[in-house]
């Protein structure tokens, strides 16, 4: 009797779940494939971001059109973002169950690089070499000049200004050249509007990393060892601390630029500007509907007038995993998808990613496309910034112990530096942080 009841209750619940579930399994958003062709080589692909599925399957279709002699049947599996990398790492390590290719986020990339789980793709990239910003490709590489991955975007860092606030304060972002100018402007903004000029994250590293890269300083040294205790790093920390003391800079609500508290704050016009890479445009269009037509994109400030005004940040490198049975095909497909005109155009149009391929920066069909939701959202054209800065761009060094270092930076270092131990000497603090890194 009781068991029957139990069985009955569960069966009802199950039937309920099943009947609703039918639609979900077939819609293709969870696991994607391209249009399979007869005799196509099967490739498996792992990503952690659902938006990437459409990109990969579309690119596989384009590839099959252009290379009828080497067709691909691609299956893209989306994982849960936090643990996909962990699982991929263990799959590589144990030699069981790894896919042919995978998207690897920049923070984790070092772990894969360090233990040699990826295949060099130099030969596949060769044909595209002169058309793309190579520092974006070679950063996913080692000291011997091999590179292993290609990003979805250039990841050029820019300054996003809320023009409502800037106008109210009477500051023209175009006049801001150096960080000192930026701070001065910030004081005016604070005085006139009561709002902070910018925010810094305690659970991520974009703002300090941008300033570090402008000083040509890295978090790991040439051998790949953690290198947090540098003059430059201490200077950056002290500079940001000073901005916080002045009230020009705030701790980002929620602790990071990808939290709901922050999006709400940003959308409500709580802060005058954000320093983030261009791929962050998508967050504006998705989460800050109220700022439509109010945001302008300008180059980031620099330390000294005349400095190179561009750095690359964030990103996801796609790589071919060692042990695949179709090395050459996977490599060629990867380079094609990420570096061809077709691929970069898709990335810009659909995902709002700044193209790694420079010819697109001058292509009026791209840069003046009135229907593009990203171009329509912002009052200035991001391509103007890209063109002005050229291709001599500083990329972060993500080799060696970068992953372990990154994990420490985003969990403790900046939280300590800006929120918890604000009075501790920067060098001393960094030494303590460096000592705690396990690599």
């Amino acid at each position: 009797m009781k068991k029957k009841l139990l069985a009955g209750a569960l069966a009802t619940a199950m039937a309920l779940g099943m009947s609703f579930g039918v639609g979900a399994t077939d819609d293709g958003s969870t696991q994607g494939t391209n249009t399979f062709v007869d005799g196509g080589t099967e490739l498996s692909f792992w990503t952690f971001q659902e938006l990437h599925v459409g990109f990969w399957t579309s690119m596989a279709d384009v590839w099959n059109e252009q290379n009828p002699d080497r067709p691909i049947n691609l299956t893209v599996t989306t994982g849960e973002s936090h643990s996909t990398h962990s699982k991929l790492l263990i799959a590589c390590q144990s030699g069981e169950g790894a896919p042919d290719m995978a998207d690897i986020e920049i923070g984790y990339y070092g772990s894969f690089l360090k233990d040699g789980y990826l295949l060099p793709i130099n030969d596949a990239v060769e044909p595209y070499k002169d058309d793309v910003v190579m520092s974006r490709v070679s950063m996913y590489g080692d000291n011997e000049g091999n590179y292993y991955g290609v990003d979805f975007h250039l990841g050029a860092t820019v300054a996003y200004y809320n023009m409502d606030i800037m106008n109210e304060a009477g500051v023209d972002p175009a006049d801001i050249v150096t960080w000192d100018d930026y701070v001065e402007a910030g004081k005016t903004v604070l005085e006139k509007t009561g709002k902070p000029m910018c925010a810094v994250e305690t659970s991520d590293l974009f703002f300090p990393q941008c300033m570090m890269l402008e000083k040509n300083a890295q978090y790991v040294d040439d051998e790949g060892n953690p290198n947090l205790v540098t003059e430059e790093h201490a200077e950056v920390i002290d500079y940001i601390r000073e901005m916080i003391n002045l009230g020009v800079c705030e701790i980002a609500p929620g602790g990071g630029f990808h939290t709901e508290e922050w999006y709400g704050h940003l959308n409500d016009g709580g802060v005058a500007s954000v320093i983030m890479p261009l791929w962050y445009m998508g967050r504006f269009t998705d989460y800050c509907a109220d700022l439509n037509g109010k945001m302008a994109i300008y180059p980031i400030p620099v330390w000294n007038e005349g400095d190179v005004r561009e750095v690359l940040q964030g990103g996801t490198g796609t790589s071919v995993i060692k042990g695949t049975e179709n090395e050459q095909l996977a490599k060629d497909f990867l380079a094609f998808a990420k570096l061809s005109k077709e691929g970069c155009t898709y990335e810009w149009n659909e995902l709002g990613f700044d193209p790694i391929r420079t010819e697109l920066w001058d292509d009026p069909e791209i840069t003046d496309n009135k229907d593009n939701k990203f171009l329509a959202y912002f009052t200035t054209n991001p391509f103007d910034v890209l063109k002005a800065n050229g291709t001599d761009i500083t990329a972060p060094n993500i080799s060696g112990a970068y992953s372990a270092t990154y994990s420490t930076l985003v969990s403790t270092t900046y939280s300590n530096a800006f929120e918890i131990s604000v009075d501790q000497d920067a060098m001393e603090l960094l030494q303590g942080e460096q000592d705690s890194i396990i690599y």
């Binding site: 936090h82 233990d115 305690t202 994990s407 969990s411 403790t412 918890i420 303590g432 396990i438």
Partner: protein, 302 residues
Amino acid sequence: MKKQSVVKKFLYSQKVAPYVFVMPFILTFAIFFAYSIVSMILMSFQKVAGANTTFIGLENYKILTNAVFLKSLKNSVFYTIVTCIMMIPIPMILAAMLNSKHMRAKGTFRSILFIPALTSVVVAGVVFRLMFGELEGSFMNQVMNLFGVEPIIWLRKPVTVWITLFFLCLWRWTGVNMMYYLSGLQQIPADLYESASIDGATGMQQLRYITIPLLKPTTIYVLTISIFGGMAMFSESYMLFNGNKSPNNVATTLVGMLYRMGFEQNQLGIASAIGVIFLLIVLAVNMIQLRINGTIGSKKGE
């Protein structure tokens, strides 16, 4: 019955039957548990990089001197101690009150208090994460506002992070522990109380001299599960901070550290060493428990 095959006869004999019954345990124990423990101990002495493993002696155990590891150990112990202190008296008193003959609608309250335990740690974590959000309109900040307190950034300051974690624990587990105590209470003969009240004992005295001593076996059980639950805490912190990344490792626990090393940074050797240390701690706590309270296994004899 007459023409049983030898095999069948063997399997059906009274000598062999018990082994058939416990076979599922022997198999899962050997395959999953024993194998895992042994491979973990072996791995803790190795460096595992790519396909290569090299024996490196006690190198991995150097983690014992790492500041972050020590912090995670401290966090786990702190959490365990505080939850044990909270999760025994509160449910016990609630159970005693609920069991009182003056109480009405016992079943309803019992069920309501148990409901949080039915929610997944994911759901609970999401709700608490939002309730303790730093926005002015987050529920807890609204409550604080009633007392004239400025909005608090709950999840980024050590003290408030711990308060949130303890609230979460209290919310989810009070009902469960109360259930254990209720079942313990039902075994205390009612005439004990009757004779006590005839002797003029007050409610307080009854609680002190009858209820608490007679609930000792239940308390031991609750204490045991609270200790292991506390030491193994990870998912709560994972949900509250949307990943294994509490600010400044305020709420990074031993398991969090193990997860970070083993799954996030591919330091299998170090992760195994943490596992071994963890195992040793658990066994040590057990030994102490056994010494003080006698085995759980012999509880039925009490």
